[in-house]
Symmetry: D2
Subunit: 411 residues, 4 copies
């Protein structure tokens, strides 16, 4: 820490730009630094802050970890959905799910879907895949070098794996795949990362693997540790095809009488609506990976509540809502190919987010390792199922109602 200076003087020097905003922590402790920085911004921008200062956060816990140049916090209301009856490998229980959102009617609607699922026997969930990816890109002088490199790679799998895993206690390199574009090779590394979402782990490991490659293959030049085939925080067909984070499927068979009673809808018009809206509509829009009604709403709200990396909603909200008319009701499933979640690291350790995780019993590392993040993923998938069911059934019920009215009018 720099030599002592009074708070007032510090504030003045910040306002006059003699000391940059991001250096306040050099002079005072992080909590004080946040306060002074907030004051400085208030003065400079001619504002008064009476809300962004109110929180339970101890800034010394997050400094240089979750945020820099902090001036306070924002708060988002958090509500409860459920409980939802869920059955999976690790869950056989009724779970309450916290959703943080500012979008009115979302929680109420998802709650309604959850009720319909419960009345029909609950949701079944299966986790199919669990991996995090990072894809460095290398460049070469000529495709002849690329050709040699493609042959070299499988012969050096062990060295690459050792280099990658030397950086992590929990991560395992599950494999990698090369995509060639002219004289460039994208290597998509896939890691098992336990209860962590794993992006940082995958990045650090991939840097080590890339160094190994550059050092051992003459002519390979790393362009970037992320070559955008990862694909992080972008919608991408590759995430749908290969999976990223958790690949999860959830299903329920909703009874005819539940549809009728709760939504005034029937399986035939819900299925028809799903086909036209979520499949034909998404196809025509060029949505490519999002053949669903509003996965994003639910995924975002739980990501916010539980301290996930919210920017990953972009691909985590991708997925497919499939319906079928069955003899005894409406079959509905949601498939989420790339749901990126963790219960350790990132924002999961922040005070309020940790409490949200505790509602579902998935704070920190699971027993066995990795099971907590899988559980969280499966709870999200079940809640997404509830959200889809509710929206589709509500729309179908409304249109059916309107059609009946019109019919009445025309008599």
């Amino acid at each position: 820490m720099e030599n002592k200076i009074s708070e007032d003087e510090l504030l003045k020097k910040i306002i006059s730009n003699e000391i940059p905003l991001y250096q306040i922590e050099k002079y005072v402790d992080p909590n004080k630094a946040v306060e002074i920085r907030r004051k400085a911004i208030a003065t400079i921008t001619n504002n008064q802050f009476t809300n962004i200062n109110i929180s339970s956060i101890d800034y010394s816990q997050i400094y240089n970890k979750n945020a820099e140049n902090v001036i306070g916090i924002i708060t988002i209301p958090m509500g409860i959905v459920g409980p939802i009856k869920i059955k999976s490998k690790y869950i056989n229980n009724d779970i309450f799910v916290p959703l943080a959102t500012t979008e009115g009617a979302l929680i109420a609607g998802v709650n309604r879907g959850a009720k319909a699922i419960n009345l029909s026997g609950g949701a079944k969930v299966v986790t199919i895949n669990d991996e995090m990816s990072r894809a460095p890109v290398f460049t070469f002088d000529s495709i002849e070098d690329v050709d040699r490199f493609l042959k070299w790679l499988p012969e050096h799998e062990k060295g690459i794996k050792e280099a990658a895993e030397s950086t992590t206690a929990h991560g395992k390199l599950e494999g990698f795949k090369a995509t060639v574009s002219g004289n460039n090779v994208f290597l998509r590394f896939r890691y098992y990362t336990g209860d962590a979402m794993g992006m940082n782990m995958a990045t650090v490991a991939s840097e080590a693997a890339s160094n190994y490659i550059e050092e051992n293959f003459e002519g390979a030049k790393l362009i970037a540790v992320s070559g955008n085939m990862c694909a992080d925080k972008k919608p991408a067909n590759i995430n749908s095809l290969e999976g990223r984070g958790k690949t999860i499927v959830a299903e329920a068979l909703i009874k005819d009488e539940v549809l009728e009673k709760m939504f005034k809808a029937n399986k035939k018009n819900i299925h028809n609506l799903n086909y036209i809206k979520n499949w034909i509509g998404s196809a025509r829009a060029g949505s490519m990976t999002h053949f669903n009604a509003h996965f994003a709403n639910i995924v975002t709200a739980i990501f916010l509540a539980t301290g996930q990396d919210v920017a990953q909603v972009v691909e985590s909200s991708g997925g497919y809502t499939i319906t079928q008319e069955r003899e005894n009701g409406l079959y509905i499933s949601v498939t989420l190919p790339s749901l990126e979640v963790g219960t350790v690291g990132g924002g999961t350790t922040l005070p309020t987010q940790k409490e949200a995780l505790s509602i579902m019993g998935v704070v920190g590392a699971g027993q066995p390792e990795g099971s907590n993040s899988v559980k969280l993923g499966e709870i999200i998938a079940s809640t997404v199922l509830a959200g889809e069911l509710n929206l589709l059934a509500a729309l179908a019920g409304r249109e059916l109602g309107k059609a009946h009215q019109k019919l009445g009018r025309n008599k």
Copy 2:
């Protein structure tokens, strides 16, 4: 409100499920309801909550507006980037930008990009388009009806417009476009919605327009007021082609010496990296609308800080980073075709979010109307530009550095 009942009794009945969670507001005022509901969930899930209860929110202000079944809040740290020197139609100023995030190094990195932009003369921004869309889908018995409908539509533009605009004081129906898929017609309505992000406005107006159509065109049956060609909270080529929310371009010409001094990089290797990573990599991944490095990080952080609908990050983070080697430096631009933002409504009125908006001087409706949301969009685009520049230059500098080291080693 229901007849009186003691708090203790209420709590018991909730825990025993005699009174559903979402009905507490029938018995007590919203602030008390949140407290009781939180207690109930704590008891049921065997938890203690000491953090999600701390906030400045008056729940009577958000009840039935932003969230239901509320039990408390989550808090997210908010830091400051900038100021960034921005020049556009409405801005000619140095702006501080609040980012709420839990991802370490993000704020510091963007701040670095902002500095490089400032040292090179600042960012220029242009807003090209400003519209919100909603796309109902109608079904018909036969394509002969569809054919008649397509001819009927332009003849009834006035009636449709009147029906839509009858529901809103601020919204204007700018036009609509039909997409035919067999016997189904998707109508994408486009609205000008002033300083509001406008999704709700567009939905209500489109419902009215849809009713008008159903009532006046025999044989048109509304399937859903959203037929997924909107396309809300989904990545979609249509949003890139037609625009949704604001379509904004920001650019800067970064001086050679700034690149060298701040990043140890040069324009040639940054341009090469951008081409291989953001264009070839994104293309190969099937990212389709996201030819950029990490728009999503910056968009998410500002959306969180300012009370935007965070689920809309999915398409708001779409866009294109374009670089060119110019004689006197690196030309870099970012194009955001579908940035959905507002300064009124939604989460923008929450206490902390409002203070975040106040930092940038864009609280509530602008003068002239609509200018505040445009300003916010342009500030976001400028900050995205800073984020892209920083990441690309940092990666380029690192690889260049490594190449030099290697060169040194090989001597």
Copy 3:
């Protein structure tokens, strides 16, 4: 023509590379040139050609028009499908359709689909749009210039239109639309081109329009007359959304008894198969514009037979197969958003292709102008409908049959 030289000497000089292959027409007439060039290639590559020489083509008719450096022809078998009963604005008739293909079982299968359609009352067809597009791209120094340009454009629509239309007797510029990417602007021009497919017409007109723009807007630099947003010979969401060539929908209501008798299938399993294969399967594959079973087979075969630009099959084969279970049968439609066809120009004037067109009564310009190419498009759409119906019903019938067998076995 160059000074006389004997055929033998000419052949020798070609083989010894003294005279390049493409200059033979300088010495002899086109038909003789083809013969000599063929001999030269036979000699150089040590082959004998006894088949590529047999044709009715007069090479003087196609020299410098359809091909260069010609050595002969290839032949492709052509069969007949139908007749198909078609009803549209210009057609109310039973039409035989020629298909040129080397893929066994294709013609027989489509023929079967046509029969099923006829037995159910025929196909209805509607043409929704008819335009050809070309999209030059311009670059500018700064987005400030782009901003000015976007305002300049609508003010100079008349000048642009006049420039474009000055190059063509038949083409009409219907409109244009700008897409901004940083400092680059793509202008997608849309033309009505009558009975011509219109790509050449659109290119020449767009060059003239581009010249006008460069000359009248200081700072606009044309990069290429095709900026790939046209999008010619590439699959592209823009072609699906905006249409290219003809946008056509065809439908039929197939009677239950026809499905049962001809395919041993029923509407329920055909609809289910269509949903899973053509919608879920195509979505997961990232097919984006091709939610169908095999449009490409039928489109290719008719394009070959009728002298269309076969490379345009890429986008002309895009489209959507939609099924519904109706009370009295299976509703099936095909939507082809970008079917690029013509009856004048290109390969349509070649001897065999012209005879293929004559089978359908669509040789040359129609009465009224443009009607022949529309008719051809509608016939193709109807044949595509037959092809889709046949393949889906055959697959459904086969699986149903297998299921029944299995059921029998398990008894």
Copy 4:
């Protein structure tokens, strides 16, 4: 063959629809049948055919193999490009390439590109992958069955492989991959198919494998042997990521002086044009797999000449054109991820197509097996490279020329 009947009577009965068109071969030999069918169509449609009858085809050779209901042939002019200097694993030679097309200027342009390549030292080509895929889709009652199935699959790889390979002498099942969508599983089988394009082989083998699965896994129901994740005759990101047919890269380093002399262009403006047109333009159009200028033109023309399945141009024309400014010239590469070609089977045995193959020395099976189809693929890739180079350089030269003129004018 049916009992004797005179030709005249046969013709009458066909015209009167007593004998269907497709049954003529029951009464007379295939060559006669074609003649009679042609006469019948001529009479019914009131036409005279003097061209579609002229060919060297013996219809008894193609009957029930390449086409049905045949009435004659169509002819397409075939020209010659090259020779192109090619270096790859199997080729080190100057190759003449036959192109069948009706699009004027195509052959001449590609020829020019070939010359530029030759003057710069020739093209290098590498084949990275060689597989054909077919993807059946199975449905299950519940995702619990799907979960069991995913575990069952790797345990029964041997049985599945044996079943698949029992149907083919040449094909090898290289592997398969499951994609789950709710209660449906798509299995993408990958085969090595030697010199055959292999689609039929893959289909027959996948049917056998599917039967094995249905018989051995209780609850698996085959929906269709093609579930559209193959993805055959459709553009699809999966084909780009996984490869289909041959995955081939070709490159050349074009000398500065060649660019200057032949095209009046330089590497800087060609690279800039390629970036803006083929990358930014294709991205904005939503082309997804086609980041190139006109692969489709060249691929189509060689497919036609050599008897390939022309409908497969849809995905075979996908690919990426990458340029770089290098010290001594323009580096240019083309990457074709899914080029589907064969030298045995399909249309390759037709008389004229066989002669086209003979020009390149790739008739029938290669030595070693598979090498002929690889050679053909590499020749196509080299020709595509020539086509891209020519078009980009010509466009760049033209615009440069125009810019110079304008500069002159402005003086």
